[in-house]
């Protein structure tokens, strides 16, 4: 897993469907693995292939359409809802995405993405529509996502929007730190807290 992210400049893959849940991103039957690797090949499995036949890709699904490629996924509102499976973030990252752009993210997915250095970029519905329009009109449209400066921009037109990210998470992503590193350094404070904890039995 590539740690630390800052500027990503790439073409993008558009999936303009709303409420894409994590069961679509990676169906349950692929969750039997006990490692984090190799989920990319089953990313959007049931939207990518004819039912029960992985020899038959569905041609007009964006991941199968050679017109679209890149490290940025642009997706409809409420991306990543449903199951908490982190396998969804692993699958997106393993497939080659570093950024997911949407006008709404489900909470758990957002955390899972951040914990895997997959950057969720939240933009307005209108700007999302602009991005879809730009990509459909010209699939070679380059998009720049700049974490340090917190903006996303269509390179050719300069149309851009800023996005929010909390300061702590931003520092983690820029420097490749994990929450777990931070928490491990807090052990003695956690033990102090435990002394005053309310426990009944």
């Amino acid at each position: 897993m590539s740690k630390s992210i800052n500027i990503i400049k790439s073409t993008a893959v558009p999936i303009s469907i709303e409420n894409i849940d994590t069961d679509q991103i990676i169906p349950a039957r692929f969750l039997k693995a006990t490692t984090r690797e190799g989920f990319g090949k089953n990313l959007f499995r049931d939207w990518r292939y004819e039912r029960g036949n992985d020899q038959h890709p569905i041609a007009d699904f964006p991941l199968n359409d050679p017109t679209y490629s890149g490290k940025i996924l642009v997706a409809g509102k409420n991306f990543g809802c449903g199951s908490s499976r982190e396998h969804a973030a692993w699958a997106l990252k393993d497939y080659g995405f570093d950024v997911v752009v949407s006008s709404f993210f489900a909470d758990i997915f957002k955390n899972n993405a951040l914990n895997n250095f997959l950057l969720p970029v939240l933009i307005t519905d209108d700007f999302l529509q602009q991005l879809f329009d730009a990509i459909y009109e010209n699939p070679k449209t380059e998009i720049e996502v700049n974490l340090e400066e917190q903006f996303i921009k269509v390179v050719a037109t300069g149309a851009s929007q800023s996005f929010d990210i909390n300061h702590y998470k931003k520092t983690c992503l820029l420097n490749g730190y994990d929450d777990i590193d931070y928490l491990l350094n807090m052990k003695s404070e956690i033990e102090d807290y435990e002394k005053g904890r309310i426990v009944y039995g």
Binding site: K32, D107, I108, H167, D179
Partner: protein
């Protein structure tokens, strides 16, 4: 300004707040299962860490287990390996495991409450989004990803930002044939599958207070289906009566102290929420979903929206969804043929659900073309169902009582609904392929599901009771 229930429980668990960032948030209980934990244990091993507080972790095998012949080795190799891995991890790291065959085994969100592990005022997490279920006890409980499972195993803490707060008040008396599942499906259909994203939701009002603990759990369970971080209900006498005497509940003097404290866990009169909704219980009817997210629900007597009723931007998703379901805009749901009925999952597989269904089907027979699976939420629910003769009622009705597990809720084991078939399900998700590739799910209450089992079609249960 007073505090909300959420504030009170939150404040007790903040170890430290990072300026301009999240809080270090302490977790009292951590449930784990076979699917979302193996990579977390691997992470611990890679970092050379032990589990920080193994006594606060409880494990069970539920997602991936067969629901027949649980006494035999699991046939499917990958599933078997995953379950074996859990056993191995629990043994190595000193974690209590209620594995297959154990009298406490079951769906993680069913066993926590029934064993008295879930208690008011706690923080509970699990690598599973329906952890929100435990909020029915006045607990902050939410689902986490596997990296977070690893964090909690290593430090018993998470980095959390405080969510916004929403209160949903349901006032009045429920109509005949309307159950807590209908309340929550009604709410989600009103505010959509993303309507509570970013919020912790408290359910309040007389209709909520009148509910049993099982019924409250059904509501909190589905909080995640509208995007909420968690759902909560203030603990009261109903809560205390449910917990009292349970295996891991406090007893003796500790019980009195606990109850005195738990009684303080309620929202102060002058507390303010970021958002508040008011719902009249009398407006709620039995519900059914027609689409591929839980917000796509209608009254059982209602119809699927017309295209003209759908926002322009939402049209492609709406049409995709109906295409998958083999349904058309404007169609009436009542009378649609049903192929499968699934009564189970952490939403509706508790003993109360089974009792209600049994009372309704007693003396009736399922429609010949329908396959009916009842999957108890836990070994204890199964045992009780047998003791009460509920198994006999099901047998006579032609319902198949299976063994405990998640089963067709997510179709990870062999319990899948075949492609193209319609299933009325008491579970919580109707996503594409959720119950098996191509399966078409309609979510409903246990009674609406049971009514469909008898008639073989989508039925208004009020006509049969």
């Amino acid at each position: 300004m007073g505090n909300t229930l959420f504030d009170k429980v939150w404040d007790r668990h903040v170890v430290k707040t990072i300026p301009g960032g999240p809080s270090v948030f302490y977790i009292d209980k951590h449930f784990i299962h076979e699917v979302t934990s193996p990579q977390a244990f691997k992470g611990l091993r890679d970092r050379g860490l032990r589990v920080f507080r193994p006594a606060q972790v409880v494990a069970t095998a539920d997602h991936n287990v067969p629901t027949i012949h649980q006494e035999l080795p699991i046939k499917e190799e990958l599933s078997r390996r995953q379950v074996e891995q859990l056993t191995k991890n629990c043994a190595e790291f000193g974690i209590e495991l209620y594995g297959l065959g154990h009298p406490f085994q079951g769906i993680v969100h069913v066993i926590g409450p029934e064993l008295g592990i879930t208690q008011p005022g706690m923080t509970i997490v699990c690598g599973d989004s329906h952890t929100s279920t435990h909020g029915a006890f006045g607990t902050i409980a939410f689902g986490i990803g596997t990296s977070e499972v690893e964090m909690v195993l290593a430090t018993q803490c998470l980095m959390q930002s405080k969510p916004k707060l929403m209160r949903i008040n349901v006032e009045g008396k429920l109509n005949k044939g309307v159950f807590s599942k209908d309340i929550i499906l009604h709410i989600i259909s009103l505010i959509s599958a993303s309507g509570a994203t970013g919020y912790a939701v408290e359910y309040a009002g007389s209709a909520i207070r009148d509910l049993s603990m099982e019924a409250r759990m059904t509501i909190c369970n589905m909080s995640i289906e509208m995007g909420a971080r968690c759902g909560m209900i203030a603990p009261d006498e109903t809560t205390f009566a449910y917990i009292k005497g349970k295996k891991f509940a406090p007893a003796g003097e500790a019980w009195n102290k606990a109850v005195a404290d738990w009684k303080t866990l309620c929202t102060d009169d002058d507390a303010v929420f970021d958002k508040e909704l008011h719902i009249n219980a009398a407006d709620i009817e039995p519900m059914i979903t027609y689409g591929t997210n839980p917000g796509m629900g209608v009254k059982i007597t209602g119809h699927i929206p017309q295209l003209t009723e759908i926002d322009e931007r939402e049209k492609p998703s709406f049409e995709k969804s109906l295409h998958y379901m083999g349904l058309n805009p404007g169609e009436v749901m009542k009378g649609k043929k049903v192929d499968y009925v699934f009564i189970g999952s952490c939403t509706n597989s508790r003993i109360e659900d089974l009792r209600k269904v049994a009372a309704f089907v007693k003396g009736k027979k399922k429609a010949p073309h329908v396959e009916v699976w009842v999957v108890p939420g836990s070994k204890q629910v199964e045992k009780q169902a047998i003791e009460e003769g509920i198994n006999k009622v099901f047998e006579e009705a032609g319902f198949f009582l299976r063994q405990p597990g998640c089963s067709a809720c997510l179709g990870m084991n062999e319990d899948k609904i075949p492609a193209g078939k319609y299933c009325i399900s008491t579970s919580n998700r109707n996503f594409e392929g959720r119950q098996g590739p191509g399966a078409r799910t309609m979510l409903a209450s246990p009674l609406t599901a049971a009514a469909a089992a008898i008639t073989g079609e989508v039925t208004d249960v009020r006509e049969l009771i």
